[in-house]
Symmetry: C2
Subunit: 337 residues, 2 copies
């Protein structure tokens, strides 16, 4: 029986897995941003020595995994499962990295929600008794995402102020069955929510309803209040999405503003001309595995609700008149049990 | 600790979940094939009343879920998680179906291995104590797959004899924490394997090395022998892939031929001009949830090794000179515990 389930969409882990290491690689622009001191590796050139941006992205994915293994002093053969995905069609960054890594692989597609989708499933696999170590990883690249989802870069199209800048980077987390924390204690899995947004240059607005839905469900399922958390952090709402999310929550009686941050807002400085903020699967991945883990380890935050947010944007469905659904998966990261 | 793990890539479930229902929808061509009596619904028109094949595929996905719910006498609110994916970019069939279904959703991308990827994770979620009911589902459509992965259909390009015919259909399985079987007792999760095949019209050859790897690993991890199984069934090797798989296994000392079937070979008759056989994520899904479950329920097979096989083909990576990696996930389905 589902003895670990709380409410409708949340689970409470019996033996909460420990986050034992996080690894990050970012591109040059992210390396000039305010969180630059927290990344493990900053690329000088976003082709990473490869002949295409897609190959560069897959190499970042692979090297983020190798990097986190090194930080945890583990070998790939110690890892029971890799749970990985990315934004590219057929998740080629993850799949081609997995080809080199030689590890049992579950391929995921959750768009920019992939980091917490992987951590949720990974935590379930460990707490369920199937794994001692898992790696959850994801990547994105400004140049691969722009040309797949929007316009050829050569076209030099003007970006509206609601648009976000896809983070170039890759992040990987190792969860372990034993460790001294921080722990993943709860996970609230999102539903696909769509209020009809059709603008591929306004991802924040497309994701806000799903983000609000998962946060409210999390509070209802767990009985936690805003006061129980030191920080509530979303993946890539950006400034536009942030305002909509805060308003949606406020209308439902949740005023989270004093506890709230968004990875997409934190990763770039306003002077970096990214408009609404950062986005992409790597946005939440590198902020979590870089800045946030560091803050938690240094005692700045003791209990965090972390939620990667995905806009399930597809050029094919958009061309066929469909709107852009969103999804958001939240996890509770706590230094104590 | 990973007390349910066997060997390097396999788990043995402690309380094996029951397959309580399977639902299938197929297109007209599949409905003329030798397994036609085992499908729940056969479309007269492969647009399914929609304005595009992509919308038709998503509708099939959604209706396969609704259909299996009805067969199990359950409501969507009884389902803890949907684990779904498909072949289309951004898994739009699964995501747009999930939007209508209002259920916590884990999006997967395992190409044609999605059915057993979803069943493996779903079984882990149930046996791990996170869910009482899960649905694993997938879909594919000849016309959406051809135009995404190969050529515009209007081009009328000649198909080589190694090519396979993507199955139009959708299949969904409900797993439950309690039930009288058939049970999923073991799961062997595959690695991404690539021996260098580059031909998008020879998926069988691309997948055979991954399929062989997972089958051999399964036998080594579990200690089972070929004699322990009544049937060993792959997802969509087709005739070309079948021969390569049997040869690869034979060289390693495993002669499975007398126990072996492939969904891609069974679903179409040779007179249907599909060349090497059927393929697509729905190929294994509709054969499992249609013909195979019926055979198991009727006592024809008591213990089956079922393995969906995925070719991680991507037009982008192929155009950049990459070969086609494969992956295969196997589950043991048994009528007894």
């Amino acid at each position: 029986m589902a003895e670990k389930k709380l409410g409708t969409q949340t689970v409470k882990f019996k033996n909460p897995p420990s986050i034992i290491a996080g690894g990050t690689i970012v591109g040059p622009k992210e390396g000039e941003g305010p969180l630059r001191d927290y990344f493990d590796m900053i690329l000088v050139d976003d082709t990473y020595g490869e002949k295409s941006w897609e190959k560069a992205e897959s190499k970042m994915f692979q090297d983020a995994v190798n990097l986190v293994l090194k930080k945890a002093n583990l070998k790939i053969s110690d890892i029971d499962y890799l749970l990985g995905g990315d934004l590219l069609n057929q998740i080629i960054s993850a799949n081609f990295a997995a080809r080199q890594l030689n590890v049992p692989h579950f391929g995921l597609y959750g768009a920019c929600s992939t980091m917490t989708e992987g951590l949720t499933l990974g935590a379930m696999l460990i707490d369920g008794g199937y794994a001692d170590y898992i790696i959850a990883a994801t990547s994105s690249h400004f140049s691969t995402a722009e040309r797949q989802f929007r316009y050829p870069l050569e076209q030099g199209i003007q970006r509206p102020f609601t648009s976000q800048w896809t983070v170039t980077g890759a992040g990987a987390t190792i969860l372990a069955s034993t460790g001294k924390g921080p722990y993943i204690t709860h996970a609230t899995t999102g539903k696909v929510v769509d209020l009809g947004m059709k603008d591929a240059n306004n991802m924040g607005a497309a994701m806000a309803p799903a983000a609000a839905d998962t946060i409210i469900t999390h509070f209802k399922d767990t009985g936690f209040t805003i006061e129980d958390y030191d920080l509530i952090m979303t993946g890539d709402m950006g400034r536009v999405g942030r305002d909509i999310l805060l308003e949606l929550l406020y209308k439902e009686g949740y005023d989270i503003e004093s506890k709230y941050k968004d990875c997409g807002i934190e990763i770039f400085d306003e002077s970096q001309d990214v408009h609404s903020g950062g986005s992409g699967a790597a946005c939440s991945a590198v902020v979590l595995n870089g800045w946030l883990l560091s803050q938690i380890q240094n005692g700045v935050y003791k209990k965090v609700l972390f939620m990667a947010t995905g806009a399930l944007l597809s050029p094919t469905s958009s061309q066929q008149g469909e709107s852009i659904p969103g999804i958001a998966h939240a996890i509770t990261i706590s230094t104590t049990l």
